[in-house]
Each structure stands twice: as structure tokens, then as C-alpha cells.
């Protein structure tokens, strides 16, 4: 813990240093040796703080995943039994299945929608700037807060509309439906995250040289053809990174669920993140949920590596 105290004082000094650096005349000490010492002082506090508040808790998490600690009081080592228990726990299994299903669907929908809208916004349209600004709005809204609005829409408005229109299937709230509640979470997630992806894809589209399109138009290529043969291959790098980031983000879904279903009905929409939070903080399963979190980290890294392999393999072919 001693690094922590040392670290936090260091951060307190940073702004002072900025004043000293900018206001005081240069000391001239750093002139020779290219100021290696100054560089070291620039990174050292950050390293110590990062270690103390990121790496250290992670290591602690890994450590306690081998114990039966309830989060307080006494604990003892239990070896790998938390891990073996994970694989036979139906609640854990369900959380992983739900999370993976949600994340894959939300990732695909977000990227398809965002790419389509970005291509549209990049086309010959009116109100381009205004539309671009509007599509970005959801990004600045807190998921939890706007999620509460969606919750009301799903609970009352959509059933009321369905009733008025005579659509029997939707007259009860899908949030109360064990097998369909996840769709509502996907809707909120896609609505919110498409905003940022659109801007990323627009940035990507800007890097495609106009000459390529001109040449293609001269050759009489259709819009679909131009997209497939020029646009998409040219922005494939953006696509790869967007897919990886979306999936990584969606796998950690949390706020959406707190706002819409709180994991219910029952535990139907309990994601891995929500389960770790609940079990760890409220269920006295500190050690056990830490083992779950370690497993979760491995899964997330595996997903990212797998995605990169697949997408980059395709990129090389393209």
C-alpha cells in the first residue's frame, strides 16, 4: 500500500509542476542528455498510480479468486475449486450465454446500421451537417438515464400501441417476457452506440479517395457494386476495429440491464458483469465472483484475438 500514498501525492503535484515549467525560466539542466531525468519524472507518477489503482486491484482479484473470501473477515485458500464450481453453476452458464448472444447480435446490428447510415450521410444529400449532428445525440446521453425512458416505452407505450393496432403478440411488455426481454436490451444498446460508430465510419469514408469513385462511375459500376468493390475494402480497417471495440464493450453490458430489467425476469437477462456485481457485493461470493471475473477476462481477450485473426485474415485476402 505504500506505493499508493507515494503515488497520490505525486498526482497532486502535477499541476504545480505545470505552472513551474511554464512560468519559471528554464533551468537549463535538461539541455544535455536530452533531459532523460525529466522524462522519467513525467511517467513515473503515472506508472505508480496506474499500478496502484489498476494492476494492483487486478492482481488482488486474481489472488482472491483462489480463496473463499466473502469480501470481509476471514478467508482461506480453496485452490481451484471456485473455478471448477463455475463450470457446473447454471446461473454462470446462463449469464455467459445471454451475454454472448446479446453482444454478438448488438455488435452486428450496430455496425451494419452505423455503416449504412454513414454511407448515406456521405452520399449526395441535403442537411448533411444537421443530420450528422442529430445522429450523434445518443452518444452524449447517459445509458442508465435514457434507459429508464426506454423502460417506460417498453413497459407501457409499446403494449398500448400494440393493443390499438391489434397486434396480440406485443400487448404485454417484452421486458416481462423471459425469452424476449433481451431484445429490448439490444434495442437500447444499438440505439445508443450506433451514434459513435457512425462518426467513426464517416471518418473512415473520408479517407477513400474520390478518384476511385469517379473511375468506377465512368466504368458504369452501380452503387451497390461501388460499395462492395471500393468503399468496403477501403474502410475495412475501420470495420475491423469497430467490430472488436463494439463486441468488447457489449460483452461488458451493465447500465442497459440495470435500467431496463435489473437482470429479470428472474435471471433471464443477467449479464456476466451484473452477476459479478451482484454476487460479489450483495451475495457474499467475493472470491467466487472474482474467479468468474478472471474467467470473464480470459473470454474477452479470447474474443478479441479471435475476431482480429478472422477479420485480419479476410483483410489480407481482400
Amino acid at each position: 500500500m505504500s506505493t499508493t500514498t507515494g503515488g497520490s501525492t505525486a498526482v497532486g503535484q502535477t499541476p504545480d509542476r505545470s505552472r513551474g515549467g511554464a512560468g519559471a525560466p528554464p533551468s537549463g539542466r535538461g539541455t544535455r542528455g536530452r533531459g532523460s531525468r525529466a522524462y522519467l519524472w513525467m511517467v513515473l507518477p503515472a506508472f505508480l498510480l496506474f499500478f496502484a489503482f489498476h494492476t494492483f486491484p487486478v492482481l488482488q482479484g486474481v489472488f482472491f479468486s483462489f480463496t473463499d473470501s466473502p469480501g470481509y473477515g476471514e478467508w482461506g485458500f480453496v485452490g481451484l475449486s471456485n473455478y471448477t464450481a463455475l463450470f457446473t453453476d447454471p446461473r454462470i452458464g446462463h449469464a455467459y450465454l445471454f451475454t454472448a448472444q446479446f453482444a454478438v447480435v448488438a455488435t452486428i446490428l450496430t455496425n451494419v446500421l452505423a455503416l449504412a447510415i454513414a454511407v448515406g450521410l456521405n452520399g449526395k444529400i441535403k442537411f448533411r451537417t444537421t443530420l450528422r449532428a442529430v445522429y450523434f445525440i445518443p452518444y452524449v446521453l447517459a445509458i442508465l438515464v435514457v434507459g429508464y425512458v426506454f423502460q417506460y416505452l417498453f413497459t407501457f407505450s409499446i403494449p398500448a400501441m400494440a393493443e390499438a393496432l391489434g397486434v396480440e403478440a406485443l400487448t404485454t411488455s417484452i421486458l416481462a417476457d423471459e425469452s424476449w426481454a433481451w431484445v429490448a436490451i439490444v434495442v437500447l444498446a444499438v440505439w445508443q452506440s450506433t451514434a459513435f460508430s457512425i462518426v467513426l465510419y464517416l471518418a473512415g469514408l473520408q479517407t477513400v479517395p474520390a478518384e476511385l469513385y469517379e473511375a468506377a462511375s465512368l466504368d458504369g459500376a452501380s452503387a451497390a457494386r461501388r460499395f462492395r468493390s471500393i468503399t468496403f475494402p477501403m474502410i475495412f480497417g475501420f470495420f475491423t476495429i469497430n467490430m472488436v471495440l463494439s463486441l468488447k464493450g457489449f460483452l461488458q453490458v451493465f447500465d442497459h440491464i440495470f435500467a431496463l430489467t435489473a437482470g429479470g425476469p428472474g435471471t433471464a437477462t443477467e449479464s456476466v458483469g451484473v452477476l459479478i456485481y451482484r454476487g460479489g457485493f450483495q451475495g457474499g461470493e467475493y472470491g467466487y465472483q472474482l474467479a468468474n471475473a478472471v474467467l470473464f477476462m480470459i473470454v474477452i481477450i479470447a474474443f478479441a484475438v479471435f475476431q482480429l485473426r478472422v477479420l485480419q485474415g479476410r483483410e489480407e485476402q481482400a
Binding site: 528554464p26 525529466a38 513525467m42 496506474f50 494492483f56 448515406g120 449526395k124 449532428a133 473520408q206 451493465f254
Partner: protein
């Protein structure tokens, strides 16, 4: 925006990956000017109409929040999309008092502002030191150390960090500012390093000849040059710190230190009887950032775009 593609196919923010994604023969093409505004010809009315209709989906929840926040409880029911027949402004004052809005808003504002200032000042400095020493093994290792954390999911540290901050007395606004600044390093260092490496080193050498120290070089020469990247990092940091729910949920123990999103969660059970007041509260929580965005909209989007082309 156009000048920002100069650096070629450097790593993108949000990437957290080596830059292979945009590497290769495309590099030269990336230096091209963007096409925006160049394309002549008439606008496509169908495409415009389609995009306008789709854009309405963005407004549905917002419209809904506004009309609901203005109704009396008796006017609820049905689809809820109708305009209020009688406007009840008192919903806002009720929400203001019930959730202690000024306090939560102040907490959010202080945390966001503190995080923003500290992040811009420190993260850029760390990135500068790293990018000028990438040939040294230690700094290179540090770079990858920060970046690898992008793939460590928060749940693994959420339980230990809650205990740790409680022990250290950091389960409050100060702790949140510190944690946002530290956790932001992974992503921000990545973005800044890519940008700083595209700044010609000759600029600094001239200053060093005149006897400027590394500190002076950074604060006087490099930091001002970073303003485009500072804008990008600043926007992303602001939105994150203002809207984040999970970290305050895990860290904050004193109700007086709650941020706006956390406050909405805390009062959720008390709202359930009165949706208009709840919606008034949600609107007030979302409004500050919406207003900032409405004012600085062009600048925000170009900032984010710039960050992603880098």
C-alpha cells in the same frame, strides 16, 4: 478536419490494437483530402428522406421524456405520446427537491471538470515522454503496459477497487477524479502518442538549442500543438465522466457524493409512483450535456472524427 489525415495510417483511438488494421498500401491513399463538400450534383431526395425519417428515431425517447415530464400523473396512460393537455411545471421543482438535484449536479460537474483538467495535463505529458523515448525498452514496455489494460474488463477490478478506495478514504469525488484520470491513461496515451509522433522533432531541437528544458519544451511547445488532440480526448473524457454509472455505483459510499446518473438510480424506487417527476428528473440529468453538445456540436463531431482518423 482535412489536415488531420497527414499522419497517415497511424493507430486510431478506440483501437487498443497495433495499427495493422489501417496499414499497408492504403497508407498513401489515406493522405488524401476528404471528399466532403467536393461532390457536385443534385442531392438525392430519396436518400435524404430516408435519413431524415431514420433520424427521428433519435428523437423518439427525447420527445417522450419531454411530454411525459410536463404531464400530471392523471394524464398518463395510453401510448403516452400525446401532448400534455395541462402542463405541470411543478414536476421539475419536485424532482429538483426530491433528488437534491443541485448537489448531484454539482458533484457531476466537479468530477467532470476535475477529470478533464487533470486528464489533459497529465495524460498528454505521459504520452509525450513515452513517444520521445520509444526507442528505449522501458518506455516502450510502459506504452504496451498501458494499452494492454484496454482489454482488462472492469468487473475484475471492481470488487477489489471498491475495498481499496474505501480503505484509502477515496470513496468520494476525489477518488472518482483520480480513477477516471488514471483509467483514461490506456486509451489517451495511445491516441496522444500517435499524434505526438507526427510532430517534427526539429521544433523541439531548436528550443533545446536555446537552452529550454524538457519541461519547458513540453509545456511551451508541444502542449499547445496538441490542442486538436486535446479536444478529442477532452470530449470523450467529459462524456465518460459525466455519464458513467458503474464506477460511482461501486466507489461512492456517501449519498452526498452521488453523481447525477447514480442519483437517478438511487431514487428509482421513489419515482415509481410518479412518472412525470421521474422524467423531469431524467431530463434535468441529461440536459447539461445536451446543451453543451447543441452549442459545440460541429466542434465535437470534428474532434471525434479527427481522433479516429489519426
Amino acid at each position: 478536419m482535412s489536415t488531420q489525415t497527414i499522419g497517415g495510417a497511424g493507430p486510431r483511438p478506440g483501437a487498443g490494437l497495433p495499427p495493422e488494421g489501417t496499414d499497408g498500401p492504403r497508407r498513401s491513399l489515406l493522405r488524401r483530402r476528404p471528399r466532403e463538400g467536393e461532390d457536385a450534383g443534385p442531392a438525392n431526395p430519396w436518400l435524404t428522406a430516408l435519413l431524415v425519417v431514420l433520424a427521428l428515431t433519435v428523437f423518439v425517447p427525447l420527445y417522450f421524456a419531454v411530454v411525459t415530464a410536463l404531464k400530471t400523473p392523471a394524464q398518463l396512460g395510453g401510448t403516452g405520446f400525446g401532448l400534455p393537455t395541462e402542463i405541470r411545471w411543478a414536476n421539475f421543482s419536485d424532482a429538483w427537491r426530491l433528488t437534491d438535484f443541485p448537489r448531484a449536479a454539482l458533484n457531476s460537474a466537479v468530477i467532470t471538470a476535475g477529470t478533464l483538467v487533470l486528464t489533459l495535463l497529465t495524460n498528454s505529458m505521459v504520452a509525450y515522454a513515452i513517444s520521445r523515448n520509444m526507442h528505449r525498452r522501458g518506455y516502450k514496455a510502459l506504452f504496451f503496459y498501458f494499452i494492454s489494460a484496454l482489454f482488462v474488463p472492469f468487473p475484475i477490478l471492481m470488487l477489489p477497487i471498491a475495498k481499496q478506495t474505501a480503505i484509502l478514504g477515496l470513496d468520494n469525488q476525489v477518488g472518482l477524479i483520480l480513477l477516471y484520470t488514471v483509467y483514461g491513461l490506456s486509451f489517451n496515451v495511445f491516441v496522444y502518442v500517435a499524434y505526438i509522433r507526427s510532430i517534427p522533432i526539429e521544433l523541439e531541437e531548436a528550443a533545446r538549442m536555446d537552452g529550454a528544458s524538457t519541461w519547458t519544451v513540453f509545456w511551451r511547445i508541444i502542449f499547445p500543438l496538441l490542442s486538436p488532440m486535446n479536444a478529442t480526448v477532452g470530449i470523450i473524457t467529459c462524456v465518460w465522466a459525466w455519464n458513467d454509472f458503474l464506477l460511482p455505483l461501486v466507489i461512492v459510499s456517501d449519498p452526498g457524493a452521488a453523481t447525477l446518473p447514480l442519483q437517478q438510480y438511487v431514487f428509482q424506487s421513489q419515482f415509481s409512483q410518479n412518472y412525470p417527476v421521474a422524467f423531469a428528473s431524467y431530463l434535468m440529468a441529461m440536459l447539461p450535456l445536451l446543451v453543451v453538445y447543441a452549442v459545440a456540436q460541429r466542434w465535437v463531431i470534428s474532434g471525434v472524427t479527427r481522433g479516429s482518423v489519426k
